[in-house]
Each structure stands twice: as structure tokens, then as C-alpha cells.
């Protein structure tokens, strides 16, 4: 069930996540939340709000700063049939528990030939702006896409956030759940009753015919803005939201790209050996028709600048793709013979500007 039509209320991404977890904890006593500060008054920006009061400390566990062990403990508990949701307030911190995620979580079911499985969720939040900088801003989802046995989802709106979270909790495999903080305060109609969003199905977020834009995580928002800018100059962009990165719905993306003849993938991450490389390569290597098309598919990628993320806003603004730079690149791909065009817009969205410090 994945149609947003029956929703009569609007929730923020934060509320949607919170509701998904609360409903699943109600449904299944095996589900529990674990992570540093999941039980405090800030409740991970509200995403774990109220859970400690309703379910108590056995099911909403604060932890020491021990990402590696807590991941292993979550895996062990999952092997015993529990369903941990392990929360990391920055995706960067997953680097501390790569051994457990990659060498054990991803592999246990296979290595033990099905005798064990690891139904767990690793929630990982991506930071941006306000000086998040080198170590609080990374989108490292491609590392997890690389390794068989892990699923990776990156919902871009509140509806998918709830549906993907419920699906992730019910999934019998480790799921890396990618949450961009700038999406937290975006709203969408979200049904109250529990529902799942199926992994491996991309969404067409906006129809178009001249170019396909694939936006990963927060970059979906920028792609949709770019689509509006492009419309002003008579270019019709189709925007695709992969929703889940592993499994990846190459069919939908490739079909769109084959229709438009142009594919631009914009990731909230570096491009080198990243999700954007995967999508471009996967589309390009598909035999579309035989004999091969006579027209070359034009492809491109955008993502973080090939640098570490600087903290100062003056440099940070060029570190990320935005609607204007995306539109500009799309324009060049669609109209290669015309001179470059850069739309003149504020790079900052209202909810982005609302993201002030301290954090």
C-alpha cells in the first residue's frame, strides 16, 4: 500500500517517523529503540518523542558512546528475534560501527545459511548547514549499497518516511535508514493507520519529457525546485525519487531516461563510486533495444564537491548542488549548443533558512 491518497492529515517528517515507531512498538513488543539520548527531552529532534514515557527504559534504551558494541548488541538481539532500531544522530558516526554492520550484520544471514537473520534498523541522520562541517555532514549511503545483505532507504517526504520506517522495522534484514535533517520539518499528508512503502519502487515526483532528474535524499527537493526553474525556460524535466537505494528500481529510472534521452543524477553525497555512479552505470549498461539506439543517452552526475565539507557558509554553499546549479547543468545537457544559463534564485529554501543553531 503506497498511495498517499487516503491521508486526511498532514504530518512533518519528524512526526511521521515518531508515529511509525510508536505504532510498531505498540504492535510488536520485540521492537525497541536504542541509542544515545533517545530518551531525553530533545528526543532526537522529536522523532522518539514520548516513547520513553509510554514504553519505559527497557524498550527505549539510552546507551554509552559505544557505537561498535551497541551495533553488535543490536545484531545479537536481532538474531534472538528482537527488532532493534538503533539511532545515530549523524551518519558520520556509522564509521565507528562498520565492522559490525559490514562484517557481521550484512553477512550473518548468508554466512550462516539462513540459520540466523538480523532484523534491525540503523537510523542515520545527515546534517547540513550551520557549520556541520567535515564530520557532521556526510551522506555515506553508497558504502552500504556496495555490500550485499544490507538494504538502504532514503525517504524524502513524511509519507515515505512513515511507510519506509514501518517497512524497515518489519524487514528481516538490516536496513540503513537515511534521514536528511533538512527534510525533518517538511510536511506531507500521512495516513494515520500503519502502512508500508515497498522498497525497490522509485516514484515519479514530477512528470517531464526533456530530461530525467534523479534526486537522492534531500537533493530530491532541490531537483523539484530545479524542475520549476527549468519550466520557466521551456524545459520539461521529469523528477524521479528512488526512495530506496538498495534495492534500487533501475527499471523506472531507465524507462524515464530512455524516454527523455537525458539523465542527471543528483546525490546528497560525493559522486565518486557513489549512488549516482551506480545509477548512471546501471542505466547505461542496460541493453535498451537491439540494434542499439542511434542516439547516445546523455548522462551526468552531481553531488558534493570533491572536497571535505567546510563549515563556513561562504564555502559550504558551493559544496552542495542546489536548484540553480542543477537547473544550469540540466540546461546544458538539454541544450548543449546554447550558452550556459544560471537561474538567478536564492539558494536557500525557507525551511532550510529556518534551520538555525545552536545545532
Amino acid at each position: 500500500m503506497s498511495s498517499p491518497t487516503d491521508a486526511t492529515r498532514t504530518l512533518s517528517y519528524v512526526e511521521a517517523l515518531q508515529e511509525a515507531v510508536e505504532q510498531e512498538m505498540d504492535r510488536d513488543e520485540k521492537v525497541f529503540v536504542i541509542g544515545l539520548n533517545v530518551d531525553d527531552h530533545k528526543s532526537i529532534q522529536g522523532t522518539t518523542k514520548g516513547l520513553i514515557h509510554k514504553f519505559g527504559p527497557d524498550r527505549v534504551m539510552d546507551t554509552p558512546l559505544s557505537e561498535d558494541a551497541v551495533t553488535g548488541i543490536s545484531i545479537g538481539a536481532a538474531m534472538a528475534g528482537m527488532r532493534p532500531i538503533h539511532v545515530h544522530i549523524r551518519m558520520d558516526f556509522l564509521m565507528l560501527c562498520m565492522n559490525q554492520l559490514i562484517n557481521m550484520g550484512a553477512k550473518a544471514h548468508y554466512m550462516y545459511n539462513g540459520q540466523l537473520s538480523v532484523p534491525m534498523v540503523s537510523r542515520s541522520i545527515i546534517g547540513k548547514s550551520w557549520g556541520q562541517g567535515a564530520q557532521h555532514s556526510q551522506g555515506l549511503h553508497s558504502m552500504f549499497m556496495h555490500v550485499p545483505g544490507l538494504k538502504v532507504v532514503a525517504p524524502t517526504n513524511a509519507y515515505d518516511a512513515k511507510g519506509c520506517m514501518i517497512a524497515a522495522i518489519r524487514d528481516n534484514n538490516p536496513v540503513i535508514f537515511v534521514e536528511h535533517r533538512l527534510l525533518y520539518y517538511t510536511d506531507a499528508p500521512v495516513p494515520e493507520a500503519p502502512y508500508t512503502v515497498e522498497f525497490g519502487k522509485a516514484r515519479i515526483s514530477g512528470r517531464g519529457s526533456d530530461i530525467t532528474l534523479v534526486g537522492i535524499s534531500y537533493m530530491l527537493v532541490e531537483c523539484l525546485r530545479a524542475r520549476n526553474l527549468l519550466a520557466e525556460v521551456g524545459i520539461s524535466a521529469e523528477v524521479v525519487d528512488p526512495v530506496s537505494l538498495m534495492p534500487l528500481d533501475v527499471d523506472t529510472i531507465a524507462a524515464s531516461a530512455n524516454r527523455t534521452g537525458k539523465l542527471l543524477v543528483v546525490d546528497n553525497a560525493w559522486t565518486a563510486a557513489g549512488a549516482s555512479a551506480e545509477i548512471v552505470a546501471a542505466v547505461c549498461e542496460r541493453p535498451v533495444s537491439r540494434p542499439p539506439r542511434t542516439k547516445q543517452l546523455v548522462v551526468g552526475r552531481m553531488g558534493f564537491a570533491p572536497t571535505t565539507c567546510p563549515t563556513t557558509p561562504e564555502l559550504e554553499k558551493d559544496f552542495y548542488p542546489n536548484a540553480a546549479t542543477i537547473a544550469s547543468k540540466a540546461y546544458a545537457m538539454v541544450r548543449p549548443d546554447e550558452k550556459a544559463w544560471i537561474p538567478d534564485v536564492e539558494p536557500t529554501l525557507p525551511h532550510e533558512a529556518a534551520f538555525r543553531g545552536p545545532f
Binding site: 553488535g72 548488541i73 538481539a77 538474531m79 559490525q100 562484517n103 540459520q115
Partner: protein, 324 residues
């Protein structure tokens, strides 16, 4: 040594377990040069007493996890021998269908949680399983426990310290066991440990610790028995450091006393302290011979099973990547 440890049934059971492990591994070593076992084998020959002393006290539905040096633990906990042998042969009838080899043995029907080839990985996993067992115990009135085995080298990994803290904080029903054989591959603890105060360190987490230096299977068993009953009663984790000695090379079937990193003289006291022989000597010869004969038959049957078993089907490569 408690009198209890020497009751005839226990004695026979312990001997049987020690002897089975020893003989299975000797058989693995014998077969190895034939290249039928294409798997790195880390033999526990000489170290059997640790796994046996502890697993003898565990109940069938308790959980045990260990390392790539896991044959002893697997067998001591009651893991299926035929499936183990087939696994070493890479056959489809192996405990993991040939996917695991010697280093990642598993047999959940006997409570053998998978082993791991990355040092230290299973320590938090055993604790995590114990977390689930603690929750289970809140609903039942018994508590299953998890025993997590590791080498001395594993205690140097940060995850060991992290796990101790977490396990103690949450009073998890887990027994952590360090099989201290003095080496990580060829590196002696003196190259790796600032001090030998491992038990003192673990005790600072509020975890009861037990250092057992004599390698005696009944010493180990006696300590384990008390520790496990306390853990089961909700007392939280305990830790055992059992000194032992690896008789063969780190990986592979051979001895390596001529490689220069240790000498046959170091080995001598451990050889004299051979728990298989010493425990066997406590039995009367007839009883012992009967057990030995049974074991030989069992092993022969397992080897035969492994030899006769089919290879996994090619499509098995793609099974169990994801759980349904």
C-alpha cells in the same frame, strides 16, 4: 576440584567431550594434506578443557558464541558433528551448506550462535543475544544465558571494553570467557599487553572475574558452574580468563615449535597437563575404551558423511543473501 565434578556421570561426559574434540581435530589434521578440507583450520588441540569445562554446565537451550577457533566450542555445546565435518569439506549438507567453512560454524538447534573470523566481532553479539534472553526471562521464570568465547587477542579490541561496560550496566546474562593461549598468531601477549591485569580490569566494571591458571577442566567447570548459576539468577555478567596453550600452529594442521617464536620447552608443562589423557586416566579402562570406540565410530561416520555428501547446488550461491 569439587567432589561434584568427579561424579562418574560428569566425569564420563567431560572425558567424552574432551576426547571427541581432540580426536575430531586430529582427524581434521590427518585429512588436511589431502586438500579435501579447503578451509583455514584453527585447531583447538590442547585448549579443549576451556570449551568443555564451560559448555558442560550450559543447558542445551543456552547460547554459545566463539571465534574462528571454534571446533571445540561447537562440539562441546553439542553441535552436530556430521554437519561440521561436511561444512569443512564444503558440502551442501554442512551446517551452513558449505558457506561457512571452519571459521563460521553455526548450529542454532544446539545453541551454537555463529562463529566469526574477525577477531572480537562475536563479543557484543553474545551480549546482544543475552539482552534478548534477559527480556525473555522477565516473562518466564528461568533465564537462559549466553556464553561468549574469545581469545586473548580479542580483549585488545575496543569492542571488548565497550561490551563489558554495557553488559555490566544492564546486568546481562552473559558469561564472557577469554581463552588465553598467550599468542595472537605468533605475537606473544608481552608484545601486546601493557600488563597482565586483565581480570582486575574487567572487575572495575563491577563484573565478577575468575582467572584459572591450571588448565584443569574441572577447575574450569567448577568456576563456571557457580558463575553460571549466579548469572542465571540475575546477577549480571561474569568473566573467566582461562590460561591454556595451543599445541599446533595458529592455523593449519601442524606443530610449529621450530619456527622460533616459541619452544618445545614452553609446551612441555602443558603437554604433561594434557586434560584428555588425565581425565581419561580417572575412568576405568573399560569405560574409557567404550567411549573411545564410540567416538571413533562417530568420527568415521561423520567423515564418511562428509565424503559422500553432494556439493551444494550452484544456485545456492544466491540463496540467503536476504532473509524473506
Amino acid at each position: 576440584m569439587s567432589g561434584n565434578a568427579h561424579d562418574p556421570e560428569t566425569l564420563a561426559r567431560v572425558y567424552r567431550s574432551l576426547r571427541l574434540i581432540r580426536r575430531v581435530e586430529e582427524e581434521v589434521a590427518r585429512i588436511y594434506p589431502s586438500d579435501k578440507i579447503k578451509s583455514p583450520v584453527h585447531l583447538s588441540i590442547g585448549q579443549e578443557a576451556v570449551a568443555v569445562g564451560i559448555c558442560d554446565v550450559l543447558k542445551p537451550d543456552d547460547i554459545m558464541s566463539a571465534t574462528y577457533r571454534g571446533h571445540a566450542g561447537y562440539l562441546a555445546k553439542g553441535g552436530d558433528l556430521k554437519q561440521m565435518m561436511a561444512e569443512l569439506y564444503g558440502k551442501g549438507t554442512g551446517c551452513a551448506g558449505g558457506k561457512a567453512g571452519s571459521m563460521h560454524l553455526v548450529d542454532m538447534s544446539a545453541g551454537v550462535l555463529g562463529m566469526s573470523a574477525v577477531v572480537g566481532t562475536t563479543i557484543p553479539i553474545a551480549a546482544g543475544y543475552a539482552l534478548a534472553l534477559k527480556r525473555e526471562a522477565q516473562r518466564k521464570n528461568t533465564c537462559r544465558i549466553a556464553a561468549g568465547f574469545m581469545g586473548d587477542g580479542a580483549t585488545e579490541e575496543g569492542v571488548f571494553a565497550e561490551t563489558l561496560n554495557f553488559a555490566a550496566l544492564h546486568k546481562l546474562p552473559v558469561l564472557l570467557v577469554c581463552e588465553n593461549n598467550g599468542f595472537a598468531i605468533h605475537s606473544p601477549t608481552s608484545n601486546r599487553w601493557a600488563t597482565k591485569a586483565l581480570c582486575e580490569r574487567v572487575a572495575t566494571y563491577g563484573i565478577p572475574t575468575h582467572e584459572i591458571s591450571d588448565g584443569n577442566v574441572f577447575s574450569i567447570r567448577e568456576v563456571a558452574e557457580k558463575a553460571i548459576s549466579e548469572i542465571r539468577a540475575g546477577g549480571g555478567p561474569q568473566f573467566m580468563e582461562c590460561h591454556t596453550y595451543r599445541w599446533r600452529e595458529h592455523v593449519g594442521p601442524n606443530e610449529d615449535y621450530d619456527d622460533g617464536y616459541r619452544s618445545r620447552d614452553d609446551f612441555k608443562p602443558w603437554q604433561d597437563n594434557d586434560q584428555v589423557a588425565l581425565t581419561g586416566a580417572m575412568l576405568d579402562a573399560t569405560a574409557r575404551d567404550a567411549i573411545d570406540a564410540e567416538i571413533e565410530a562417530e568420527i568415521a561416520e561423520a567423515v564418511d558423511f562428509a565424503e559422500q555428501s553432494p556439493w551444494p547446488q550452484p544456485e545456492e550461491l544466491f540463496s540467503h543473501v536476504f532473509a524473506d
